[in-house]
Symmetry: C2
Subunit: 235 residues, 2 copies
DNA sequence: TCTTCAATAATCGTATACAATACGACATCT
DNA sequence: AGATGTCGTATTGTATACGATTATTGAAGA
């Protein structure tokens, strides 16, 4: 039971449940999120659902329109670019911060993680994606800077959502070799190189998996983002 | 009347009112924030106050302890350092992003702003501080990156709170000349130099106005942060 | 006088209630 | 048929209600 009757924890459970559901695409971009049905499903009142939706809206995973409720966010391409730019910047900071400061234990943990990524590379799709993401979160954690961690987490989740919309189907997001190189640079204490590697790593994630490469098939695909960002509701 | 009976706007009004009150130190760090009295004062129910407090808690301006309510945040020195570090990083990104991209109109606006800062420098204390802060917000706005703007705003407000606690009384936070140099570098399109200037500018804000230079007078000052961060309630 | 404890008051966490708004279906008119 | 107006339903925005938890006060005992 993660439920726990402790105060405030149920609210957080709702938040996390919705968050995961969105990132894993159980709730697809643009999908409506009525407070009633969610509350009923999760066994809480609208109050807590509302709280969670509000928080998700701040983080950009949910869109909240006055008097017409919440829906899973459907970022435009410009917003997507913004998010990726900021994320690259943030993770560059992470890299600079970490260069030379990595303890032996931390380096070992990262390498173990990369080995896992390698193992999962060929087979399980979603598992591979999850591991790639976690690598970056782990790095942010290791800075010991809570605010930096929060921002990286937020940007990362939004990136997941963006890739769900604009990314090609099964691009394995991160190249394992690039993670390896990065660890090496961090270990060597070469901050500039680490930042540079991180920057290009994330840049290549974009070009490899994302933005523009996807040739939209027909007008419906092209219009979908606009319709949804205006609150319209295509079938 | 900023009140406006439009839905959702009252909630935002509450949020903004509390935010300003905290930043302007009408509500001092550590001060309790009971939902009831705030709601009564602002003419709304606890629901909306709660919403606002939740949001402020996420942004780090308010601390929220389970079953014992909200209080104005009292960041520790480590948290303060984290926030300043992230802010410096973010604003470096702003500088890099803006270098060479500044339109003539934007440059003019910035220069006009700096002239205002200069005017206000000698006289009004709080006014000078406000203008210094706004300069940085303006820069972030000019990137056109909404997420970057949000993060800079958030970090800035937290910095205000931090300076309220640990800063020396009337340090004029930003040197006008440094702002001028920055604009020049942006205009020249020298991204590296702009980033460097920004970095040192913010670094000097810290050393000039802040952290450690303040010789605490007695034990009470030294203990205050610890007491408050533990939820204790000194008179 | 200082501690301990119980009763009371204050405040929070969550659910529910009610009014306001938006969406959809049907009827009406041209 | 197509457009337009009206009613009913669904869903939101906000307030209120109620049980639970924490702070406070005051009295009794050491």
């Amino acid at each position: 039971m993660t439920d726990s009757r402790q105060p405030g924890l149920r609210a957080q459970s709702v938040y996390r449940a919705l968050r995961r559901a969105i990132i894993e695409q159980a709730l697809k971009p643009g999908m409506k999120l009525p407070e009633d049905s969610i509350g009923e499903q999760l066994g809480v009142s609208r109050t807590l659902v509302r709280e969670a939706l509000g928080r998700l809206a701040i983080e950009g995973l949910v869109e909240l329109k006055p008097n017409r409720g919440a829906s899973v966010a459907y970022p435009t391409l410009e917003e997507a670019r913004d998010v990726f730019d900021v994320r690259r910047g943030l993770e560059r900071l992470v890299a600079e911060n970490l260069a030379g400061r990595l303890t032996a234990a931390q380096a070992a943990e990262l390498e173990a993680h990369v080995r896992q990524e390698e193992k999962a590379h060929g087979q399980d799709g979603p598992e591979s994606i999850r591991l790639s993401g976690e690598f970056h979160i782990k790095l942010a954690e290791m800075t010991g800077n809570a605010l930096l961690l929060r921002y990286v987490q937020e940007a990362s989740s939004r990136c997941s959502l963006i890739l769900a919309i604009y990314g090609r189907p099964h691009s394995s997001e991160c190249a394992v070799s690039e993670h390896r190189q990065l660890i090496e640079a961090l270990r060597a204490g070469d901050g500039a190189r680490a930042a540079h590697l991180m920057d290009h790593h994330l840049q290549s994630v974009v070009t490899r998996a994302l933005l523009t490469p996807r040739a939209e098939r027909d007008i419906r695909d092209l219009l979908a983002p606009y319709a949804l960002s205006e609150g319209l509701n295509p079938p």
